[in-house]
Symmetry: C2
Subunit: 205 residues, 2 copies
Amino acid sequence: MRISELSSRSGVAIPTIKYYLREGLLHQGAQTAATRAEYDDSHLRRLRLVRALLEVGKLPVASIKTIIEAVDDEALPIHEMLGTAHYALGPTVEPEPGEEWRTARADVDALIDDLGWRIHPQAPTRDELAQTLVRMRQLGLRVDLRPYVEAARRLVAEVEMDTIPFDGPRDAAVEALVLGSVLYGKAFDALRRMAQESESARRLT
Amino acid sequence: MRISELSSRSGVAIPTIKYYLREGLLHQGAQTAATRAEYDDSHLRRLRLVRALLEVGKLPVASIKTIIEAVDDEALPIHEMLGTAHYALGPTVEPEPGEEWRTARADVDALIDDLGWRIHPQAPTRDELAQTLVRMRQLGLRVDLRPYVEAARRLVAEVEMDTIPFDGPRDAAVEALVLGSVLYGKAFDALRRMAQESESARRLT
């Protein structure tokens, strides 16, 4: 298809498509004449992925480039490819100096070991959870993560992983991971605040 | 206590305390001389609450003022007081024109009715969830919210509501709601992404 059809079928404006081509977020089409290129379904899929990363994942262009490189590197196993997108979706947390941090981080590592979860030793989620633990303890919150662990485990194993097409095109798997992770996260957030309101009404009114 | 002691016991710098006094976020102390005022535990509690709203809730000063007014209005029932903080913690979502939005919003209302949840007809969480539903459907995600509903219900009823001291000072109840809601939300987010990584490793490697 020509760029005009790629634009109308993807819903992405032609100048934006040209910007993605220049930035390397979208691979070049097959050149059929000096000023004409031919695009195919792989370009449509890639545009869907780029939009998911930009609009739903709210990721900066530099992170998107890294993810696209991982998608295009066919030698990279799917699990590692998904990891690049996955790690980009979380906040960046810097370890803090001091005993409180070291204790919290050791508790996170021990929790992961106890659960038998397979998490990379350098996964950023370890520091992310450690930071939240530090804040909770500083503020005097009673901390019991077990119900949250169990809820996360069940939702991921029983719902979210089944929405990812592991045996299709690599773009589609990353796209599904990002959409599922972000949008189910938002839905859960709203539902949790609804449950808080309802439970407060039940107990207090 | 004098303002210097209030500062050292709360960890809030004196100029910041003076700013809170000017902005009406902190109530005035008892004037004991032209340039001297006496503060008490109610000021310490209020400073804890303001910091929780600012630093953990990341709320703007205008929202914090509204919440403080609700805390100070003793005629306002606790459930409504908590609601002002609660609604401020969520994103502001504008309803969109069109059939997709109306359908999603009707589905949210029907879900709440089915669950028997006690949610205010104008609660912003209704539009928040509707917006996420619209996005999920536009992007072709298979949507099954029931496991998320069940997880939210259990975590709130079995863990989060029990951390709120309903029978103590009003400041303390709002503070506990904000800290619990935000920090348990962050912890769950990190745990969910950990569970995704672990499940991906289990299935793919």
